[in-house]
């Protein structure tokens, strides 16, 4: 992902510097860690040898890692490598392994352990990436190209900050292309396989850095502070999203002494946590509570659930990450739908509200990035409701074969509100009312019955007789998607009276922005289902949603 297009939308240089920073900060709130190709960065392009364990045994592979790092950072300054791409080339033997499992196409997600070290202090980050599905080649090697955002890092003192690649895990989702000849015996213990059936399933391939890797896997060195010499104290730390802050790196860490300080990583010298790395389910401690209370008492049809996901911002060629947000839902009662000669139809209207600290909004979602002059910037936004969220579900039972389908439309009137900005730790006031003029809008499939501006998300659940239900269902969750236009911004201005509306509108507002949200299993307050050997948990003991969903791109 690149930010050059945003650059093209920047105003002439006659604008004040604060204006430029503020504008870019807001944009960056929508696209964490996607700044790239800016002056003052340098690109890392490293090809490393790995040994990957496949069902047939260990095989040599290569991983090419490209990313952009700042040429220099200040002590205490947050930054994140941008444009991180991991290209893994698996040999033909690996392709044969996958083909033997009936796969014709694979979708890969990568997890690269990266040791971050400064002097004797170390920390470990996980760089996650996702790849588009690729067909298995008929001959030759298989190349998987994954991309993703990575956690921010703060160097606590002066000295070189090193990034060193370690273990690499590749999660493969296998899809059949042709009738397979799956061999269950091919499921070796070394590779974790979970075949869902012939020609489909999943496989995790663990790879270790080869002993002869150049530089022992060193990816980049970023000088921090005035000098480049190692500093005496402080542990660099990635964001909490890794869940591993404070741990020293893998064997690839340049300084074997790094382990000595691993326990100190969360000491008083630890940096502020900046963002949650996408791709992993956050800990419950890291998500806002989602429960009914005295101000919002439950009824006998009350449900709650978390929702999380991404919203693209086309003009920025990037995506905003919405962290798990609480929805309180009043489940509707199904009523008979319209007559249909081929189906029995039930319609249900449910209503929902976001719930965050008593307000009908998402939690603030902070994002951190580097502006062009590498001042660390933290921006915060919320999505605020301007009315209740309506959820229309239609169950259609086909009489000919008893196939049942549930189509669900979620209509949410939501404005995007920029609440806070910090540049280099200094708050920058954009005013209390910096938000989109109207709700995010979508083309409604039934505008006559659903007038007004609102976002529309759609999900479909389906069940063939005798088989499991799949897809999105309000009660059990799933993926909702849609497309939205981001309206013009209004009310955005600095304390000295500078108007930022036009700048934001030109840079962010526009049509065709894809949204993908994942809703978790609901908890029914009046009929809670707790985890048992027979039942997956739907509710925690204090009646919060048991499931915290993971955002998907």
């Amino acid at each position: 992902m690149k930010a050059q297009r945003a650059v093209a939308h920047r105003p002439p240089r006659v604008r004040a510097r604060t204006t430029s920073i503020a504008a870019f900060v807001v944009l960056a709130a929508l696209i964490p860690t996607t700044a790239s190709s800016a002056p003052g960065t340098r690109e890392t392009d490293v090809e490393l040898p790995y040994v990957c364990t496949l069902p047939s045994g260990p095989l040599a592979a290569t991983a090419r890692i490209t990313a952009e790092f700042p040429e220099r950072a200040a002590a205490g300054e947050a930054f994140a490598p941008s444009g991180v791409t991991t290209s893994v080339q698996l040999p033909a033997e690996a392709v044969a392994d996958l083909a033997a499992r009936g796969a014709g196409e694979v979708r890969a997600a990568t997890r690269l352990e990266v040791a971050v070290a400064q002097g004797t202090a170390g920390a470990k980050a996980t760089w996650r990436g996702g790849a588009e599905p690729v067909a298995l080649p008929e001959s030759g090697p298989l190349t998987l190209v994954s991309k993703g955002d990575v956690p921010s890092v703060v160097g606590r003192g002066d000295g070189d900050l090193t990034f060193t690649a370690g273990a690499l895990s590749i999660d493969l989702a296998l899809d059949a292309a042709n009738p397979p000849a799956a061999d269950p015996a091919a499921t070796a213990t070394a590779a974790h396989a979970d075949a869902a059936g012939p020609g489909s399933g999943s496989l995790t391939v663990d790879c270790t850095l080869a002993e002869d890797a150049p530089g022992q896997g060193l990816l980049a060195t970023v000088p921090v502070g005035e000098g480049g010499s190692p500093g005496p104290s402080g542990s660099p730390s990635p964001s909490r999203g890794t869940g591993e802050s404070g741990e020293s790196g893998e064997s690839g860490a340049p300084d074997p002494e790094a382990r000595g300080d691993r326990e100190d990583g969360r000491s008083d010298g630890s940096p502020e946590v900046l963002e949650t790395a996408p791709g992993a389910a956050p800990d419950r401690d890291d998500v806002p509570p989602c429960r009914y209370d005295e101000q919002t008492p439950p009824t006998d049809v009350s449900l709650n659930a978390y929702v999380t996901g991404y919203a693209n911002v086309n003009k920025m060629d990037g995506a905003a990450y919405l962290p798990p947000s609480c929805l309180l839902i009043e489940q509707g009662l199904p009523v008979d739908g319209p007559p249909d000669p081929e189906h029995i139809i039930f319609d249900t209207v449910s209503w929902a509200n976001f719930h965050y600290q008593g307000r009908k909004q998402t939690p603030p979602f902070p994002s951190t990035f580097l502006s062009f002059d590498f001042a660390p910037v933290k921006a915060t936004m919320v999505l605020e409701q301007t009315g209740p969220i309506r959820i229309d579900s239609r169950i259609k039972l086909r009489l000919s074969d008893f196939t049942t389908v549930t189509d669900t439309y979620v209509r949410a009137p939501l404005v995007a509100h920029v609440t806070e900005l910090e540049v280099n730790g200094t708050p920058l006031d954009v005013g209390p009312d910096c938000r989109t003029e109207t709700s995010l809008t979508s083309v409604d499939p039934d505008p006559a019955h659903h007038p007004g501006d609102h976002l529309v998300l759609y999900g479909r659940g389906e069940q063939l007789i005798g088989q499991e239900a799949t897809g999105y269902l309000l009660l059990s969750g799933g993926t909702l998607s849609g497309e939205t236009s981001i309206p013009a911004f209004t009310g955005c201005g600095t304390a000295d009276g500078e108007d930022l509306d036009r700048l934001l509108t030109a840079s962010v507002s526009g049509p065709g922005n894809h949204i993908k949200q994942v809703q978790g299993q609901t908890c029914a307050i009046a009929a809670p289902v707790f985890p048992t050997p027979e039942t997956p948990g739907q509710c925690t003991e204090d009646l919060q949603p048991y499931e915290i969903p993971v955002a998907e791109r």
């Binding site: 029995i344 009046a526 039942t535």
Partner: protein, 213 residues
């Protein structure tokens, strides 16, 4: 009402297509002695293929199981087994429907009732009796009660449950709540699926033989 008629038709149709349903002529002389081997003995049963519960809309369970004790019995019908544990779904594989995940809690004991034995095929016909299960899908809750027609085949150890319309009903006390028009007391649920029965201690297939000495 027209729509109700159509719904009944669906259930009938679904029942007729069920696996293992073998409604045939009764034996000339009804069995009054039911010899279960071994007896008494603890048994366990696990599903073979998916279990489908239908209450207007189908619900599928990929995991289901039963445990209990079996005993030889006399009389017709004969109570040849008590089911003391009956589960639908697991923590990893909940039962699903287009409403969402469905949780079914069985109120046991259930009974296995033998009615007719065909000596030439080794198949016992009868039903699962005293069925009672509380079903929830989100805020929708209802209770299913009644029986479910079934057959047991000695050669395979398969208990084929295939209820017919009228076997099961939706309880009016407690009545369904928050299910709207999908599930009402007029709904005719069905329960279909096959279970492999084993003697718990030996994994052997038990047999049921009916006779009239």
């Amino acid at each position: 009402m027209k729509k109700n008629t159509r719904r009944s038709a669906i259930v009938v149709c679904a029942a007729a297509s069920a696996l293992g349903l073998a409604v045939g002529p009764s034996s000339a002389v009804p069995s009054t002695v039911w010899t279960v081997t071994p007896s008494p003995a603890a048994f366990k049963a696990t599903n073979v293929g998916n279990i489908v519960l239908t209450a207007t809309i189908p619900m599928t369970c990929t995991v289901s199981g039963a445990e209990g004790t079996m005993n030889s019995a006399t009389g017709n019908p004969g109570d040849v087994a008590d089911i003391t544990t009956m589960t639908f779904g697991s923590s990893a594989s909940p039962c699903t429907s287009v409403l969402g995940n469905v949780t079914t809690t069985s109120v046991v004991p259930w009974d296995v009732i033998a009615v007719d034995y065909n000596a030439s095929t080794g198949v016992t016909k009868g039903h699962i009796g005293n069925v009672k299960a509380q079903v929830t899908a989100g805020a929708c809750k209802f209770t299913v009660v009644g029986k479910a027609s079934a057959t047991y085949t000695n050669s395979t150890g398969v208990l084929a449950v295939s209820s017919v319309v009228g076997d099961l009903s939706v309880s009016s006390s407690p009545a369904p709540v928050n299910c709207g028009s999908v599930v009402t007391t007029a709904t005719k649920p069905t329960f279909k699926g096959n279970y492999a029965v084993k003697v718990k201690s030996t994994n052997a297939i038990p047999t049921i033989v009916g006779s009239n000495p």
